[in-house]
Symmetry: C2
């Protein structure tokens, strides 16, 4: 890291360099005066080194420093000396530089917030001055981590024969075009490119082209109303393989994930458990279960639908979870849980509890309807022990499962079961191929229209479309879907049947997917793949909540770049060249 302006960085000097003449460059983190000494903490990407100046022998230097401020950029020449008072927390803590020359490379205004691990700057302010926020260790380290992860992935994929191929960014608008960002063409007025939501089409074409194993770490774009922690541009690790089954794809990416955990986290991940989508819903009320803790659902219809309690009796599903050791929850705590499930985000109508007291008795919010023997039967079915709390919800099957899933995660949080630093990976498999939409009264592809049905379900695609499972799989870490993929349809007749099941006329299918279907007529191999959300993976592996901290220059929740103030207006001359006008439609 030696350059014409420095001999070393601020992160590398130690006792081995004693008495060496060195030149350092960096930013002033802090200036301290102690007795007759002036100390500067000099910072660069690599660390912090202490500079020392003696007012007795270097009065002019010390006076010069008095005019300096935080974040000034300086170059310092001096000699490496052992410190009197060592700092064991940093690699350079044993030494300091007795400086004998300072050059100011650039001054700095006082930053609008402190450049410390814990800054005093609010979110908005730090985003506006993102280039200063990036100086803070936590943010800087996130981006260094992201780099390390990307190069680790690239080398692994290269090692096992995957070729990184860049696919285009100026593409055609897709059927799900409503979410496309579009780009007006200057050369063909009235026509638009779209930015790709994913390289899906291209990676399938690359399989038709015979590339066998493709990957790419690539930006994708989706113009949707931003939910928490979504970004209009995001990065995928996108992959596709030929001549494979679902098992092959799962094995390859299980290998990648094991390698990542070992290289990056020093953690040996064993074989990754698999759960069917149906079981994930049944036991966790989620297609992306956080399996760091159990608290699996117990269906209680048979032990709770024999009394006069209508709410249960009329419900499609009565389902409970056991909160270990929570029998002593106070009234207030229990009310809090009821409030939680009644929040619009969860949307349940109520919550029933059964406290399993240490003395063998039970207390329930439905004591009016159920006696001690009934509650004992519930406890037995749920495997609850004295001291546990059983939480029960009832209603339509899927809806209630999802609500109970939310409560389960809440209880996991309250009981500290979702531990940072612990990682539970899970393959969710056997997804339904199609999803029925009540509003539009049609089926939608749960993954996308090229996902292959399980071969054994192909026969019922027309007769029982809702029961067809897909050769599709998601990889879930700690309750977050980190990636997913599928085996694709490579047979054009099956693809036609799929489009029909999705309600496309042959003409529509031809218009929207025609060129891919054409390509498939020229010897498409069996193929499948997977895409990992790279921003998300960075966050998960760092136990962070937000992907934004792993993106150098993210957009805010209104999809704006507040640092650049983008988007912004452009000139009439530009609009004219593009043949468009800014104008609201009637």
């Amino acid at each position: 890291m030696k350059t014409s302006l420095r001999t070393h960085t601020c992160g590398e000097l130690n006792m081995q360099h004693l008495n060496e003449k060195v030149t350092l460059c960096g930013w002033i983190q802090k200036i301290r005066k102690l007795g007759g000494m002036t100390f500067i903490d000099l910072r660069d990407r690599y660390g912090i080194t202490q500079l020392a100046f003696d007012a007795a022998t270097q009065p002019e230097l010390c006076q010069q420093i008095d005019s300096f401020g935080r974040e000034w950029v300086i170059q310092v020449k001096g000699t490496v000396k052992e410190r009197y008072s060592k700092n064991k927390n940093i690699p350079t803590g044993d030494i300091e530089i007795m400086a004998d020359e300072i050059t100011v490379l650039n001054e700095s205004l006082t930053p609008p917030f402190t450049i410390e691990d814990e800054s005093d700057g609010g979110d908005e302010l730090r985003m506006r001055y993102r280039y200063l926020d990036l100086r803070r260790n936590p943010v800087k380290n996130n981006l260094l981590f992201r780099h390390k992860l990307s190069i680790t992935i690239r080398n692994y994929m290269n090692h096992i024969g995957f070729v990184e191929i860049e696919t285009p960014f100026l593409v055609g608008s897709t059927p799900e075009g409503a979410r496309d960002f579009v780009v007006p063409s200057r050369l063909s007025h009235g026509e638009f490119f779209a930015l790709p939501q994913s390289p899906q089409t291209f990676k399938q074409l690359l399989m038709v082209a015979g590339f066998d194993r493709y990957f790419q770490i690539v930006k994708c774009f989706r113009d949707e109303d931003l939910r928490a922690d979504r970004q209009p541009e995001f990065t995928q690790v996108d992959c596709e393989m030929s001549f494979v089954t679902q098992e092959d794809v799962i094995q390859i990416f299980e290998g990648l994930l094991k390698h990542i955990f070992k290289e990056i986290k020093g953690i040996e991940v064993g074989d990754i458990e698999r759960i069917t989508w149906a079981d994930a819903m049944k036991y966790y009320g989620s297609d992306k279960p956080d399996a760091r803790f159990g608290m699996r659902f117990v269906e209680l219809n048979d032990v709770l639908q024999h009394k006069e309690f209508k709410v249960f009796n009329q419900a499609e599903l009565v389902v409970g979870i056991v909160a270990k050791g929570c029998a002593s929850y106070t009234r207030k705590q229990l009310d809090g849980l009821t409030e939680f499930v009644k929040r619009p985000q969860v949307g349940a109508s109520g919550l029933v509890y059964v406290q399993c007291h240490e003395d063998g008795t039970f207390k329930s919010s439905v004591d009016k309807f159920y006696d001690q023997a009934d509650l004992q039967a519930v406890a037995k079915k749920a495997n609850a022990e004295p001291g546990d709390l059983i939480l029960i919800m009832a209603g339509p099957r899927v809806k209630t499962q999802v609500q109970m899933g939310a409560l389960r995660l809440e209880m996991g949080d309250r009981l500290g079961l979702r531990k940072k630093g612990e990682y539970k990976l899970l393959w969710v498999v056997d997804f339904p191929l199609l999803e029925w939409d009540e509003e539009t009264q049609r089926y939608y592809a749960m993954h996308h229209p090229f996902t292959a049905p399980k071969p054994e379900h192909e026969a019922i695609l027309e007769t029982k479309p809702g029961e067809v499972n897909a050769n599709a799989y998601d990889i879930v870490i700690n309750g977050t879907e980190v990636g997913g993929g599928s085996i694709r349809i490579h047979d054009k007749n099956l693809q036609k049947r799929m489009f029909k099941a999705l309600g496309f006329t042959e003409e529509e299918a031809q218009k929207q997917f025609g060129f891919l279907m054409n390509a498939f007529q020229y010897g498409a191999p069996p193929h499948g793949g997977l895409a990992l959300g790279f921003d998300r993976l960075c966050a998960i592996l760092s136990d962070a909540d937000s992907i934004r901290d792993f993106i150098a220059f993210p957009k805010n929740n209104a999809a704006r770049d507040v640092m650049l103030n983008a988007p912004s207006t452009i000139s009439d001359a530009q609009l004219k060249e593009l043949g468009i006008k800014v104008s609201e439609w009637e």
Copy 2:
């Protein structure tokens, strides 16, 4: 590369696998019948393996094959056997598979052109069916090469401390906005993002943020009228470093280039020669000289402006080159050269020749004005020997240099001096900082407005702007500019003076570059960088003429993707959501 569908690829079996039971998958390259045998050449990404079937013992299999066609996708089970007639040209040429089972994985229509190294398909057709064109070895190998180059660069840069950081694609429109692709914002009607022409601003911000060494292999976008071999989206190896001088940047990237040549081509590139921009123009008539051959310009004003030949006497520059051994050029050949320089692309008004005959006499097209002694003086000045041809042009200095530069390259081609497989790297340094534009009567930044002047020229920025040289450098390989960069201005006062020299009012500068100048107020370090054209680098290293062959899915010369048929119209609903209308301006 083993998967559930195959035990081996089509590129790996040899004598070591004799008698092994194997399963292969791939495309049918060719079916041949020879006596009682049927042979199939089975192809995948990794190679070709011969399959053999015996009509005598396997009549049904042979009959099945009769229905197959080129590019069908099949799976074959069989045994590895030694061939009778070996093919030494391919790694699998010693063996063949005695097949005993074939499964058709997919049929194929007959491709619209042959999938051979030399295809019968025209350019347009191959672009339309790019996924088939990509099956051809030359195109496939280009993309494999590109992958290898990218991972080689990434690992080298990582190794020397550069961090790859993704910069955003949805950015603000820039001052050179006329070349921006723009993206209308759905959430802020009337406002637009732009796609980045380069990450220039962001990499400078990353230096302000203290990242010290940044790189990125990244797509960039430029909406300009396509000249030959330009693409609206292209890829750069983008880099920036802090606390450096020009020499540091040159050393770092010289190291990268040496590493690339050694790793990828097995060629040891010595230290790279440097030439000033002024000398490049003076001796080669180009700021990107092809230095694989000499043929340097000789200025002949002093030996040719003493007679009655007006064309020379009135010219600012009389300049010649020596074509070794071309004295015997015929009249027709000489006329051809004159025609060449008179083409509009070159634009010269004429060409004078001097033939230096073996017998010591001279023959010239201007014998009327110059006698043998005059021509001998010319030959002496030009270092021409008997048998050589001297070609002379005259006119305004720079214009004539550029025209002579074109002729020099043409002669290099004719004489076979621009050898494939030979690489001559060259740093062009000391570029002028500013370029005067006659049309708009103002200076433009030759690189960009953040390029630093040579420190020793700072003082004359206001008084003699045209004479200021920049700390800027280009790397040229075989006459192609492969990359360039500069030391940036990190001092805000110098930056203000620069904007002034470029004719920006303070208000305009603030409006267009304000936020970068603001960022520079918070401790910007001295920094500089370089960007390599990655597509171009791929082509140069492969001795290829066109970058298009190194892009998986390129646009055509009208900036269209003829495979996708993009750009295309979008729905009114989409336009409405974006608050724009397609409409020509008055």
